[in-house]
């Protein structure tokens, strides 16, 4: 179980921060489903780290996005948070939209991350294998679009009190999508391809071989911009790979993070 607290920054912004584990600190930037008290991806990382997982603006309250007009404002918003929490130089691990955000943070502030892990990252566009239009997925089909291993989804839903109701799960995804439309509509590359060479931290990218949303070929696009990137494509996993195969994905991530 993760613990959660609400904090208020000097700039007036309120944040909900989830955390788990002990040890060196690491920031987890979540994907489209947000963060839940039962969160196998975070728990797998928390075996070795103290994981700090802020809930992105708009996921609880749409009004939080009123003053955040684009991806640059969003990066500044996170920088304000990390500054006040004194999380100066530490690993950033992101999933999906959170991975796009992690890459943008690392490109805007190259000295902030000690290492960078991008799991099924949004943020780039390639005409040869376009990112699918998740916003045009009918709501009843969006879960099967995101998950390749739906039995893993069912197991997770059974552990999460709020996950047991299908409508609630879809609403959570829709709320997440609502919060990120500003930053990825209608095409998710808002200049990241130009900015990737600014990233200095050692970087790892992990993609699901069966991801219908972000095709695994995007490993090449990130590799073209980030020198020395390590790539891992996980067979039999979709966009939700850190939840479909938490132990497999996170043990690889932990190995990458602990390597000198």
């Amino acid at each position: 179980m993760l613990s959660s607290e609400k904090i208020k920054l000097k700039n007036g912004r309120s944040w909900q921060i989830y955390s788990a584990g002990k040890g060196a600190e690491l920031v987890w930037l979540h994907g489209l489903s947000g963060v839940h008290a039962v969160d196998p991806a975070i728990e797998a990382l928390a075996q070795n780290y103290r994981v700090v997982a802020p809930l992105a603006p708009g996921f609880n309250d749409r009004a939080e996005l009123d003053q955040i007009v684009d991806i640059h404002d969003l990066v500044l918003d996170y920088d304000d948070l990390l500054e006040e929490l004194q999380l100066d130089r530490l690993p950033l691990v992101g999933h999906s939209f959170g991975a796009m955000l992690a890459a943008e943070l690392a490109a805007h502030y190259p000295r902030r991350p000690s290492k960078l892990v991008l799991i099924s990252p949004l943020g780039l566009w390639n005409d040869a294998y376009p990112v699918a239009d998740i916003f045009a997925q009918p709501y009843l089909q969006v879960e099967n679009f995101l998950w390749h291993d739906t039995s893993a989804r069912d197991r997770l839903a059974a552990q999460q009190s709020e996950g047991q109701n299908q409508a609630e799960r879809i609403i959570a995804i829709a709320q997440g999508l609502t919060a990120v439309t500003k930053f990825i509509w209608p095409i998710p590359d808002k200049g990241l391809r130009r900015r990737l060479p600014r990233i200095k931290a050692p970087t790892m990218i992990v993609l699901g071989a069966e991801d219908q949303f972000v095709p695994p070929a995007y490993a090449h696009d990130f590799a073209a911009g980030i020198a020395g990137i390590q790539s891992l494509v996980v067979p039999g996993a979709g966009h939700m790979l850190p939840y479909e195969k938490p132990e497999e994905v996170m043990s690889a991530v932990r190995r990458f993070l602990s390597a000198k």
Binding site: P138, A167, I171
Partner: protein, 412 residues
């Protein structure tokens, strides 16, 4: 009551198996289905039909904006309205309208509408729809998260650009301009009446009431299904302490007038089913994207979808009898149509009725017939409805003398 003749301008040659074979009538409808030579004829026929509505005695003619849509061939209704200024001289041009958030800067809309008001001699009604998700977020790539805020900022900029006689600077969140000073200026002072077409969004009702705009509910599903939306509008009006003037509301209704029901079926069933079965084949993923509505609206929509595990009864299964029973179409003898529309007026309290006399692949002859019978045998019986109220949402500055196209010299 006032009566307006609305044209959607559908492409009338979609294949019979369109619903079965094609993904959507909107956004990604295959371009190979469009034959430009047939489109040429359709535009010409459709302008004839709109022009005939003036002759028949309608108060207004309505055109609207859709994009990448096989049932609405008007990405720019302004072009149609411009064409209509030449062969009409009395009927008001109800432009329903321009989706403001799609235009940068929005003063472009102020300029084109001002041109239309001047060209038509002060006959313009200015409509500002937010625009459907298909038009705005999927076709024009606008983020649904900021669409409404950008829309209202643009509407306020346009109405000020028409009415403020001074050059002004506009420092908005979405538009920044040093010099706003549009030319030409509209004939109507301080500005043309503004109508807001909508589908029942709470924010739209609030925005209309606050600015004293008309709210027009444009639905393809008839006056019975419209009750909830119009009740919501009138509740909003009451909550703001505004008088419930029926002329501040409009509604769109399909009509089919004939000698009797059997004759109505013979004349109108085919084009009606063309519309409901082919033209409304919209892929559900395009109709309600995250962020377009409020979270509460989204939640209600998802809960009902999960509960029913199907979006709605397939429109493909609708019959003519079902269309009539649900009042999607008000059909029958003139007496029957008058009786149904009186019921509509009682229940919805709308002073401005927009009618669709043309739908689907209806022929020009049938369209003229429907239009003429409605104008001659239905309108006179409803004309006096709401006459105790003053219509403050209608052009008042129309010029006495409208300049007409002159005969051209044979050879100079």
């Amino acid at each position: 009551m006032k009566f307006h003749w609305f044209h959607l301008m559908p492409y009338p040659h979609l294949p019979n198996d369109f619903r079965q074979k094609y993904h959507s009538v909107w956004v990604d409808v295959p371009s190979r289905l469009f034959d430009p030579a047939k489109g040429h004829v359709a535009y010409n026929d459709y302008l004839d039909e709109l022009e005939y509505a003036e002759t028949a005695g309608f108060d207004g003619v309505c055109v609207n904006e859709h994009h990448q849509n096989a049932y609405g061939l008007m990405p720019s209704p302004n072009l149609m309205a411009a064409a209509l200024t030449r062969r009409t001289s009395r009927v008001k041009l109800v432009l329903m309208g321009n989706s403001v958030a799609l235009y940068d800067p929005p003063t472009r809309v102020a300029e084109e509408m001002a041109m239309l008001d001047v060209m038509s001699g002060g006959r313009l009604v200015a409509g500002f729809p937010v625009g459907t998700p298909m038009d705005t977020v999927f076709t024009y790539g606008r983020s649904p998260a900021t669409l409404r805020e950008k829309y209202w900022e643009g509407v306020d900029l346009i109405t000020r650009a028409w009415s403020d006689p001074e050059v002004f600077a506009f420092n908005g969140k979405y538009t920044q301009l040093r010099y706003v000073n549009i030319w030409p200026r509209p004939i109507q002072k301080p500005r043309p009446p503004v109508w807001i077409p909508g589908g029942g969004t709470v924010e739209t009702w609030e925005g209309c009431v606050k600015r004293n705009f008309l709210y027009a509910h444009l639905s393809y599903f008839g006056y019975v299904a419209a009750q909830k939306v119009m009740d919501g509008w009138w509740e909003t009006v009451a909550r703001h302490g505004v008088e419930p003037n029926p002329y501040q509301a409009g509604f769109l209704q399909f009509v089919a007038v004939a000698d009797n029901e059997a004759e109505a079926e013979r004349l109108y069933a085919e084009p009606a089913l063309y519309f409901y079965q082919r033209c409304l084949n919209v892929f559900p993923g395009f109709s309600d994207p995250p962020g377009y509505g409020t979270i509460a609206t989204l939640r209600a929509g998802i809960e009902s979808q999960v509960a029913r595990a199907a979006r709605q009864q397939s429109l493909g299964e609708l019959t003519w009898g079902e269309l009539l029973k649900r009042r999607y179409i008000v059909a029958g003898s003139p007496q029957s149509v008058v009786q149904q529309l009186n019921e509509m007026a009682d229940k919805l309290r709308v002073g401005h009725l927009m009618v669709l006399c043309h739908y689907g692949n209806m022929s020009k002859e049938t369209t003229f017939y429907n239009t003429s019978r409605f104008a001659n045998e239905v309108i006179p019986h409803l004309r006096s409805r709401f006459s105790e109220w003053e219509d403050k949402w209608w052009p008042t500055d129309t010029l006495e003398h409208i300049a007409k196209p002159a005969p051209l010299p044979a050879n100079v």
